[in-house]
């Protein structure tokens, strides 16, 4: 049987997330894959049209129900499980959306999940990181079990566009009533998105206050960069939680990552391993961040960052 792959689309009701195009890219590395994207939404048309255009997609299935206005795993999982019968693989991104949802689907299907797929060796063999990225394991799914997986998006380049896949509607299953969306507080910002930005300026505990963090925002704006933070900076309230980079934050792969006043704990480094160029600015020449930095500068960030701002102009 050739691999028949179902990808659960991540979107915000209007726009398909680039993470979905990365899942498509991952699925397309499985030889002979037939790829279907499923869009669960209150109104699916706009997102379905975008999904149908992603190169490599053969078919788009929409499921419309008012409960899908917000992505609740408890509502989406039974829907996907109901559709999953003919598929050999069900994939979603390793974002908080996919991490929340996919294991629930796997359990409904009584099958295994492979988390954070970073490479595909065959339809049943995958590589994934463990121990905060300090080891990479090859896992093999046995006995023809259905594979549920989350795709480590930093490991794949988004598939392009140009396809014209057919779009079909599937009927919704009755969602549970035990889980209700209340609210979401998302910071509105004109800055590039941390997860997809080409450049990221990231600050650590050394910034010392939310006010000093403003200096990083200014510097980032000059570079057209997104802003990230270490856990210590988030815990201390200098930066909001969605900026955290690392094992328990975001895993990113920008062209340029500038770590400012960040020591380089393994839990932080796991989030930036795939960055093309890492720059570290730290006053401690022994800081572990220098072990992974392509360019290191030892010194006081409060002197260096204003100088950089001036030099870049």
């Amino acid at each position: 049987m050739s691999p028949n792959i179902l990808i659960v689309a991540e979107h915000n009701g209007r726009t398909l997330s680039v993470a979905t195009a990365k899942c498509v890219a991952c699925a397309a590395t499985i030889p002979d894959a037939h790829i279907t994207v499923v869009v669960c939404a209150a109104n699916a048309a706009a997102v379905a049209a975008q999904a149908a255009a992603v190169s490599g997609v053969h078919r788009v299935v929409t499921v419309e129900h008012p409960i899908h206005e917000h992505p609740l795993a408890a509502a989406i999982a039974p829907q996907i499980a109901a559709l999953a019968g003919p598929y050999s693989h069900v994939l979603g991104p390793s974002s908080t959306f996919g991490k929340d949802l996919m294991p629930r689907i796997a359990a409904l299907l009584e099958t295994v999940q492979v988390s954070d797929i970073m490479a595909v060796e065959s339809a049943t063999r995958f590589r994934r990181p463990i121990y905060a990225g300090n080891a990479v394991i090859t896992v093999e799914v046995l006995d023809g079990a259905k594979v549920v997986g989350t795709v480590r998006t930093a490991s794949f380049q988004a598939a392009g566009t140009g396809a014209q896949a057919p779009i079909e509607a599937a009927s919704p299953v009755a969602p549970p009533t035990h889980t209700r969306f209340v609210s979401v507080s998302a910071a509105k910002s004109d800055r590039p998105d941390l997860q997809t930005a080409g450049k990221v300026v990231s600050g650590g505990r050394a910034l010392g206050s939310a006010e000093s963090f403003q200096m990083l925002y200014r510097f980032a704006d000059k570079l057209h960069a997104a802003v990230g933070a270490s856990r210590a900076a988030v815990d201390a309230g200098y930066a909001p939680n969605e900026l955290q980079v690392g094992q328990t934050g975001k895993i990113i792969a920008p062209e340029l990552y500038i770590a400012i006043g960040i020591s380089g704990a393994i839990q932080h480094l796991t989030g930036i391993k795939d960055a093309r160029t890492i720059v570290a600015i730290n006053k401690d020449p022994e800081a572990p961040i220098f072990e992974v930095a392509d360019i290191g500068l030892v010194g006081d960030l409060f002197e260096i960052v204003p100088q950089l701002e001036q030099l870049i102009g």
């Binding site: 991490k99 080891a135 990479v136 969306f181 160029t277 360019i295």
Partner: protein, 249 residues
Amino acid sequence: MKRILVGIKRVVDYNVRIRIKPDGSGVVTEGVKMSVNPFDEIALEEALRIKERGAAEEVIVATVGPADCQPQLRTCLAMGADRALHVQTDTPLEPLATARVLRALTEREQPFLVLLGKQAIDDDNGQTGQMLAALWERPQATFASKVELSEGKARVTREIDAGLETIEVDLPAVVTVDLRLNEPRYVKLPDIMKAKKKPLETLTLEALGVTPRAQLKTPRYAPPAQRHKGVRVKDAAELVAALKQKGLL
């Protein structure tokens, strides 16, 4: 009785720099410091605070694993859990099997809330809680940074990629906790002594009716790709020049 069940996993301590066995068959765990998964300590702390507020009567910790998990269960009892369940097995379980065991424990203990970590820092799967919720046909609230209980309901703030999301779930429910939910208390010496007298019950997979079936094998463990050694620059001007040279500015 109003009970909270907390899932605990024994893992290599987060400060340990792990090493891969030379033959690629696994990670060296012999002689390495083992601890309670940091997320699970946060889950337990939350359970204890809920009990201290009077919203629960009993906090039970449970772990699935080999005999050497008992020190970690004792640590949890010393933190304040009332009793511990040790489902003893030498078979490494996949998350679905672990979730089945926890499901059997919810049947036995009838908790109104199950608190787990959002991920175990060794395998980094982040699956068990969501799987338990699905098998139990109950709500899940993952990556919690705030949990508020009211009659029959929980309002949970979740750390998601976009920011903070709040959902409301009917109880019983499974909540998996994130790092910023609370700061776990330190264990004091007298509590360690007291914990020795608290009940720790050992159970088997058979008694719980769980037959694990391996659906996954791990043929190879490898170190991650290494980054090349970088260069040092002496000041901001050199840094800007280096970035320009790489076409990054």
